[in-house]
């Protein structure tokens, strides 16, 4: 298994250690995961899949909790998804 995984966040390439979650890749590439309904930037809070603040779109699938999903090579991640 490779030590590093490269994926794209909002089209930008980002490399994370193998086993890292998508939330980590988003934190490194974008700094926030989504805009709240009043437009505030939001990032991960609970880190365990409860708060839903880290939602992103992964490979076209919306509302994915990025803290619970491991980063995979060539994943296409979109913030505010």
């Amino acid at each position: 298994m490779p030590d590093q995984v490269q994926l794209r966040v909002d089209g930008k390439a980002v490399t994370v250690p193998a086993g890292a979650t998508v939330a980590v890749a988003v934190a490194l590439a974008a700094g926030f995961c989504r805009r709240s309904i009043t437009g505030e930037p939001r990032g991960p809070v609970c880190g365990m899949g409860i708060c839903f603040e880290c939602r992103v779109m992964i490979n076209g699938e919306p509302h994915c909790r990025s803290c619970q999903i491991l980063a995979e090579a060539n994943m296409d991640v979109r913030t505010n998804g």
């Binding site: 505030e40 990032g43 991960p44 809070v45 609970c46 880190g47 365990m48 899949g49 491991l70």
Partner: protein, 435 residues
């Protein structure tokens, strides 16, 4: 259309943290066919996140036992619905719906941090204490970052020690409890040698980090992310520049699934008998949902639940004796880290309390109950379904949490359509609330 996978176990365990691992292992050891389902990508729960792969840890020992006993582990799946009368739970993964049948069920759903609102708490990089730790365990680089750890409870110390060991500059630990209540808690540790040993190890790991009692965050500031915070310490405010605020006010048990299944609660925790059985026959509960008690108690309760659910009674007497002792520690914990009423005054009128629906404190303060607030403002009706703002409004406004309805988590419509066991009366509940 996602596929439906079917499983059938003698004993199904929900949650693969310490209580769940102990329960599953204990039930499998006495001959039961056991399955474990967990929402996280790997077993270990929160306290053992990332530790199962380490060679010689308690976590890896339990996980190794689990695997050698042939327990089936299903990770990345959350329970969304049930038909408890038919002994079925439905779980959803990213790609499939699972229909899991069982004879006995053990709930080991753990706890989450209590998050309290204050101005600026919604900024990126203001996280739960264990939340930041979980992110670092999941690969977030923290070396050289300035972190303030705040809130309440022993978790703050463990988080600070972990972050420091991974290169973070922990600027301060702010504990809302008073020095007096902590001192009496600390002296109580003398009757729990294991806990005392852990405390002394932590103290050494934390050497040099300021530990402030009577202290809490009053405001987080920044534009697109956290830049600095204001801390109140003994009534005096000071500003600190930092990259992360790791802030949690002790723990609240995850009782949503138990509640959905009809298990009676007492004081916000799942009521269990001497064998860890809930008020619903054949449904057991172990670990934090029965009362916040920490790792040791979770392991004991898990073992009792596992043995009892498998219909055996060996070792139960010895385990019950150990459970009594560990429960004393749990009671001390609750007393020492009781939240002070001043924390209720932290939000200002514009502070968002419900993060999913962006409902402010001012809009909530007009309402008299959780139900009323939900109906009028959509507070608690977003994706987290009140898991964050529910405990917060309970503390801020003394609101009782309402009943839990299916689905337990936001669920794909196709999964709901595949759930063929739902009685017609419940279909209206499913479609009654926007997901």
């Amino acid at each position: 259309m996602a596929e439906t996978m079917r499983r059938n176990f003698d004993v199904l365990v929900v949650g693969a943290g310490p209580a769940g691992l102990a329960a599953a292992t204990s039930a499998a050891r006495v001959g039961a066919k056991v399955g474990v389902v967990d929402d996280n990508p790997a077993v270990g729960g929160q306290i053992w996140r990332g530790e199962v792969s380490k060679a010689t840890s308690d976590a890896s020992n339990w996980a190794a036992k689990l695997h050698s006993l042939g327990v089936e582990v299903i990770c990345g799946a959350q329970i969304v619905h049930h038909d408890i009368a038919s002994r079925v739970l439905f779980a959803e993964t990213r790609f499939a719906l699972l229909e899991i049948r069982f004879s006995k069920l053990i709930l080991a759903t753990g706890a989450r941090e209590r998050l309290l609102p204050f101005p600026g708490w919604t900024l990126p990089n203001v996280m739960a204490a264990g939340g930041l730790q979980a992110m670092v365990k999941s690969g977030l680089p923290i070396s050289g970052k300035r972190v303030v750890v705040a809130g309440s409870g022993p978790l703050l110390l463990a988080v600070a020690a972990y972050l420091r060991a991974h290169g973070a500059k922990v600027l301060a630990i702010c504990e809302q409890a008073s020095w007096n209540s902590l001192a009496s808690f600390a002296s109580g540790l003398l009757s729990h040698p294991g806990k005392l040993r852990q405390a002394l190890i932590l103290q050494r790991q934390l050497l040099g980090i300021p530990f402030w009692t009577n202290s809490w965050p009053v405001r987080a500031l920044g534009r697109e992310a956290l830049e600095r915070i204001i801390i109140s310490r003994n009534g005096t405010q000071r500003e600190i520049s930092c990259d992360y605020l790791a802030c949690g006010f002790h723990l609240v048990p995850n009782v949503e699934l138990a509640s959905l299944l009809g298990c009676a609660l007492e004081g916000g925790c799942v009521r269990v008998d001497d064998a860890q059985q809930t008020s619903v026959a054949g449904v057991f509960c172990a670990g934090e949902p029965t009362g916040i008690g920490g790792l040791e108690l979770a392991l004991i309760e898990g073992q009792i639940a596992g043995i009892a659910a498998a219909g055996k009674s060996e070792r139960l007497r010895e385990l019950r004796g150990r459970r009594r002792k560990a429960q004393q520690f749990a009671r001390r914990l609750e007393k020492a880290f009781k939240l002070r009423p001043e924390l209720k005054t932290l939000p200002d009128s514009g502070t968002i309390v419900c993060r999913c629906e962006d409902v402010t404190h001012a809009r909530l303060a007009r309402h008299s109950s959780w139900r009323d607030a939900k109906n009028q403002t959509r507070c608690g009706m977003g994706p987290c379904q009140g898991r964050i703002c529910g405990p917060a409004t309970q503390f801020l406004f003394d609101w009782d949490p309402g009943s839990v309805r299916p689905p337990l988590f936001p669920t794909r419509v196709e999964s709901l359509a595949s759930v063929s066991y739902i009685a017609p009366a419940e279909h209206s509940q499913l479609t009654g609330e926007r997901q």
